[in-house]
């Protein structure tokens, strides 16, 4: 393998992957490949299989056939999990017992420390991840005191704290307030600028649109489109549809009913 090939070898590959949930086929033969430094959005309607596709890619849902590879290693024998940062689809970071922002984010560092000691370098990584998402001042607060957008920022910090090369995010913008959407877009822009590879499940492109290199659209568990992000059509293109573009200037342009 030459240096060039290694450089462009995909970090994530799905080949003819099929998966089912409760006996119902959800993925019917998906091909997906994400190359280093790429930002790929997985789009599609509810039930099209986008969440199942990323959950199959990281082994949460077993593939009934086909091949999944992470960094060129078959998923079954992949062990280097610190290279993968995962943001599951959640509306809350809270569990059944109170936990602080810093405690939640620290749990992401286990990808590197495993069963070893939590050292100074690890505490510094937690601090850096919190600063990246603008939550350093809330480190000692309970997560139950946070807004929906702040929960999402905590979940992203938890994924970033292992300093991953591939970031997989499932609907990171769901239920997120405007201020947090802007922080998240800025965080992602920094990660991409630093060379991270990103696979995002999105309901719509929204504020992340300018970052996205490629969009893969799913329908009924099949890939419908794989290429440049689609332009907004139908009601999404209407002036009344409120898309917020943080890159468009200091004051976001809002054309929705409430503006």
């Amino acid at each position: 393998m030459t240096g060039d090939e290694r450089e462009s070898a995909p970090v994530l590959t799905l080949r003819d992957v099929r998966a089912e949930l409760g006996g119902r086929p959800v993925l019917r033969g998906i091909d997906l490949s994400v190359r280093p430094g790429e930002v790929v959005a997985l789009l599609g309607a509810n039930g099209s299989g986008k969440s199942t596709a990323v959950r199959t890619a990281i082994g949460q849902v077993p593939a009934t056939s086909g091949a999944v590879e992470l960094f060129g290693t078959p998923l079954r024998s992949f062990r280097d999990w610190a290279r993968v940062g995962y943001v599951p689809q959640r509306t809350s970071a809270a569990g059944g017992v109170p936990a602080t922002v810093s405690e939640i984010v620290s749990s992401g560092r286990l990808a590197r420390t495993r069963f070893g000691f939590f050292r100074k370098a690890d505490r510094e990584a937690v601090q850096r991840a919190l600063e990246l998402v603008g939550m350093a001042d809330r480190a000692r607060d309970s997560v139950t005191a946070l807004s929906g957008g702040q929960h999402q920022r905590v979940l992203i910090a938890r994924a970033l704290v292992s300093e991953p090369e591939l970031l997989i995010m499932d609907e990171p913008m769901a239920g997120v307030d405007l201020a947090s959407q802007e922080v998240l877009a800025a965080t992602l822009r920094e990660q991409v600028a630093a060379g991270a590879t990103v696979l995002l499940v999105l309901h719509e492109l929204g504020p992340l649109e300018p970052l996205i290199d490629r969009a893969v659209v799913l329908r009924d568990g099949c890939v419908l489109h794989d290429g440049p992000p689609p332009k907004a059509v139908g009601q999404h293109a209407l002036p009344g549809h409120d898309h917020v573009h943080p890159h468009a200037g200091a004051e976001p342009i809002r054309t929705g009913l409430l503006s």
Partner: protein, 297 residues
């Protein structure tokens, strides 16, 4: 302090302190993963072990440990493979375990439900001299697991799906929690009794989290509370001749009530402190212009 002169009280107090530490220490992970009643389930399954112990004329305590470990592993397996009917399967395990205990103890020669009473509700005299070493070894193992692996168990109990992507052996850790809970139940059985053991795993945690914001503080306060009520209940039962289990549980619930009462003003003060400065407290709705199609009558 004359109760300290009795050897059975020394043993009971030793067991009480240990149970006060380990029950909330493992219970916090069960509460965190929203399965607070798992300890209750294990307690019911352990009854079959006690019954078998009488029937086979072996130690009820060791049989209870064996059967409840097996039962907890079975519960964990049900959780993995039978998500949809998991609650029904657990219910069967609960009632099956209890029915098995009653059946086996009555099948034993000269056995009756009366033999079960001290295991069901705890008794100061259940801690036999031979048990002290076993209690200390098992208790130390539970402390080592719950404290030594606190970061890993926290991650798995907080968000199982995420923990799997960090590369942690999630299934092994879940099994470890289940087995540790089973061991805790059988250690606690002698003091609190099988029916009430789950209360000491759950209520101190519930009481502590009325006041806390972090997992670490919840853990520390729950354990401190567990030890306090266990010692308090054991001593009370010595003087008043009441079962220690019931006394300990009622003391724990009283502590929960006190902490809840303390929590309300504390939460209000914290909310004030964390509110960002300049954030409006009250709503200001701008006056709207009348709609174009509004018709004056």
């Amino acid at each position: 302090m004359d109760f300290l002169n009795y050897a059975f009280m020394q043993r009971a107090l030793l067991a009480a302190v240990l149970v006060g530490v380990i029950a909330p220490a493992i219970g916090i992970y069960l509460v965190q993963r929203r399965q607070p009643l798992m300890g209750d389930g294990i307690g019911h399954v352990a009854m079959t072990g006690v019954g078998l112990g009488f029937l086979l004329n072996s130690s009820p305590v060791w049989m209870a440990t064996l059967v409840s470990v097996a039962g907890s592993v079975l519960m964990e397996l049900i959780r993995w493979y039978g998500r949809t009917r998991g609650d029904i399967a657990l219910a069967m395990l609960f009632y099956g375990g209890m029915a098995g205990g009653v059946l086996f103890v009555n099948l034993a020669p000269g056995g009756s439900n009366a033999n079960l009473t001290s295991y069901l509700f705890g008794s100061l005299s259940t801690v036999a001299p031979a048990d002290v070493t076993a209690i200390l070894v098992l208790g130390a193992a539970v402390v080592a697991v719950t404290l030594g692996l606190r970061r890993q168990l926290f991650a798995v109990s907080q968000d199982e799906e995420f923990a799997r992507v960090t590369g942690l052996p999630v299934r092994a850790l879940n099994l470890l929690v289940a087995v540790t809970a089973a061991v805790t139940v059988t250690v606690a059985m002698r003091v609190v009794g099988l029916i009430l053991v789950s209360a000491l795993m759950v209520v101190p945690v519930a009481a502590a989290q009325q006041l806390t914001r972090s997992f670490a503080a919840t853990f520390a306060i729950a354990v401190a509370l567990g030890v306090t009520v266990s010692i308090g209940g054991t001593i009370t039962s010595f003087y008043e001749d009441v079962p220690p289990g019931a006394t300990i549980v009622l003391l724990t619930i009283a502590a929960f009530a006190v902490m809840t009462a303390l929590a309300t003003p504390l939460a209000r003060r914290r909310a004030r402190a964390t509110r960002p400065t300049g954030d409006p407290v009250e709503c200001a709705i701008p006056a709207t212009r009348p709609a174009g199609d509004e018709v004056g009558v």
